[in-house]
């Protein structure tokens, strides 16, 4: 038997942790329906006013769209350049591999502000106008390590025998990738894309420095939270949570189905 320890104690402790994780989110959701211009007690009554406000707030809706646009770009960048990096790290020995690995991992431990400052200086020097695309490039650089680590871990699990067999049978690099590597890493890549999307959607430090005239959702929320706070913020956040639950559940089920079907074939 795997379970040990007092089951009731373990269960109680685990559930308290979950309660800790959900309490603020529930608070936020409850107050998004509160009929009061102030987020806090007392609860005056139920209203959908803040959701109506949200759906008529052009700037807010625009920034949600901007965030989605940036996140999709970041996912594409980090997959396009991250997967080759993971393959190179997994399959080949080359001089400077250790340095390459460290540089690739550096954005994980660096504060986003530092990445942002370095890129902002770079953009200003080459006179690159700040826009959603500058944010995309910055976040793409920062989040590439997520794709690299996830895909690299999967490649290590898969081992090299199939790849080597394909190479010896005369497959070119693209054929090896298309028919051997990609089917093997698909679910890991998909998981990494989900993580990258979610982090990018919520990213604030790099964005804070690299944003031009158009704002992403976190930037709009940030300016709202620093000025006058209305429960509209709660409404947006609740909506984002509900949307992400749908997205995660769909994504998880899709990748699980893929994994089971891959296992059967």
């Amino acid at each position: 038997m795997r379970a040990f320890g007092n089951p009731r104690l373990v269960f109680t402790m685990a559930m308290s942790v979950l309660a800790f994780l959900y309490a603020p989110i529930l608070v936020m959701m409850i107050f998004s329906f509160n009929d009061s211009t102030y987020t806090g007690l007392p609860f005056n009554g139920f209203t959908l006013h803040w959701y109506r406000e949200l759906f008529s707030d052009q700037q807010m809706l625009f920034s949600i769209w901007n965030s989605i646009y940036v996140a999709i770009g970041v996912v594409i960048i980090s997959a396009t350049f991250g997967v080759p990096a993971a393959i190179a790290l997994d399959r080949f020995e080359f001089p400077g591999k250790g340095v390459f690995r460290r540089i690739v991992m550096l954005p994980i431990v660096l504060p986003g502000i530092i990445t942002g400052v370095a890129l902002l200086g770079f953009y200003l020097t080459i006179h690159f106008r700040l826009s959603l695309h500058t944010i995309m490039l910055g976040q793409g650089t920062g989040l590439m390590c997520v794709t690299i680590t996830e895909v690299f871990a999967r490649l290590q699990q898969l081992g090299r025998s199939q790849t080597e067999a394909a190479v010896n049978l005369g497959a070119n690099e693209w054929e090896v990738f298309r028919h051997v590597t990609l089917p093997g890493i698909r679910s890991a890549l998909f998981g990494a894309m989900l993580i990258v999307f979610s982090v990018s959607f919520d990213e604030i430090a790099v964005t804070f420095l690299l944003t031009g005239r158009e704002n992403t959702l976190p930037m709009t929320l940030w300016s709202l939270l620093r000025r006058e706070v209305t429960p509209e913020v709660n409404a947006v956040a609740s909506l984002v949570v509900v949307m992400s639950i749908i997205l995660i559940v769909c994504g998880m089920y899709a990748s699980r189905r893929q994994e089971t079907s891959a296992g059967e074939s």
Partner: protein, 303 residues
């Protein structure tokens, strides 16, 4: 083993052409990411270093070659102090979120039997991670504030007479908020490690007469260290560089290093100083990556 080994029997010419082919395959994969990181990381970091060696005079950047800014980072208030304070908040956040996360990770890894329930709990851990970061920080403000839910409850049950102001706008609220935000991440990394522990290990210990506490202390806890370390390094880094929590729930004295950098850029317009802090933190980050690789190697258990 590389594919060149397979054709070594065909003689030297074959081996050489195989090696050339192998190199072409390597470059095919390596060049795009190397180009990307050169343009968007190495060149910007190089420029950061260049900037940090100059100074600003009358709002204009004067290039130079002086280490004054670096000396200032380590000698002039508040820079070094703020870096140390950010590191302290980072360490506290990393430790606290590992402690808070452990019971839940433990429960999912050892006590939940059906795969479906495990999957559901896994989702329940991920969802708070996806909720907007800013709003989560803000939610703590509404919970801890003087008109907040915690104070209303305390007064309601008669524990306190007036609102307690100790909960908000200090280092405690910053650490609490950051711990809250990074706990889901800690749960996932500890869980990944615990899930790898084979059931036979626990059964063997039980057959040898170990009670639950001994199994936990002597087997499970040592094995879970790498997962905790891997998670803690990332939580530490994220908390160290945070600039949202200090503004939303922190007090006047809880500025962290990212806030200082932003102020240097926006208010003081001292790019070289901001760049010098950036260079110092990049160096610390490289150290941390090397240290973490070494630590994980040291603590990892192979089954």
């Amino acid at each position: 083993m590389t594919s060149s080994a397979y054709v070594a029997g065909q003689g030297q010419a074959g081996a050489r052409s195989a090696r050339r082919l192998e190199r072409r395959r390597l470059l095919f994969w390596l060049l795009p990411p190397v180009a990307w990181f050169t343009v968007f990381m190495l060149i910007p970091y190089g420029m950061l270093l260049y900037t940090s060696l100059g100074h600003v005079d009358d709002m204009r950047f004067i290039p130079g070659f002086s280490f004054d800014n670096f000396i200032r980072v380590f000698t002039v208030d508040p820079y070094l102090g703020v870096i140390i304070k950010s590191a302290r908040i980072g360490v506290m956040t990393a430790i606290l979120s590992a402690i808070v996360a452990y019971p839940l990770a433990f429960y999912i890894a050892f006590h939940v039997r059906s795969a479906r329930a495990k999957f559901l709990l896994y989702l329940l851990v991920i969802v708070p991670w996806w909720a907007s970061y800013l709003v989560k920080a803000y939610a703590w403000k509404t919970i801890l504030g003087s008109g907040g839910i915690l104070n209303a409850t305390l007064q309601g049950i008669g524990l306190t007479d007036g609102p307690v102001r100790l909960f908000l706008y200090n280092e405690f609220s910053v650490v609490l908020t950051l711990t809250y935000i990074f706990t889901p991440f800690a749960v996932l990394s500890i869980y990944a490690q615990l899930e790898r522990i084979p059931t036979s290990l626990i059964e063997a210990a039980r057959n040898l007469g170990a009670d639950g506490w001994t199994i936990f202390r002597r087997i499970i806890l040592p094995i879970s260290v790498p997962g905790m370390v891997a998670g803690a390094i990332i939580t530490f880094s994220l908390a160290f560089g945070d600039f949202v929590a200090p503004v939303l729930v922190g007090g006047p004295d809880s500025v962290m290093i990212s806030n200082v950098v932003i102020n240097l850029l926006g208010v003081a317009f001292d790019w070289p100083m901001a760049a010098a802090i950036g260079v110092v933190i990049i160096a610390l980050g490289l150290l941390l990556i090397s240290a973490s690789g070494w630590l994980e190697e040291k603590t990892q258990t192979r089954f």
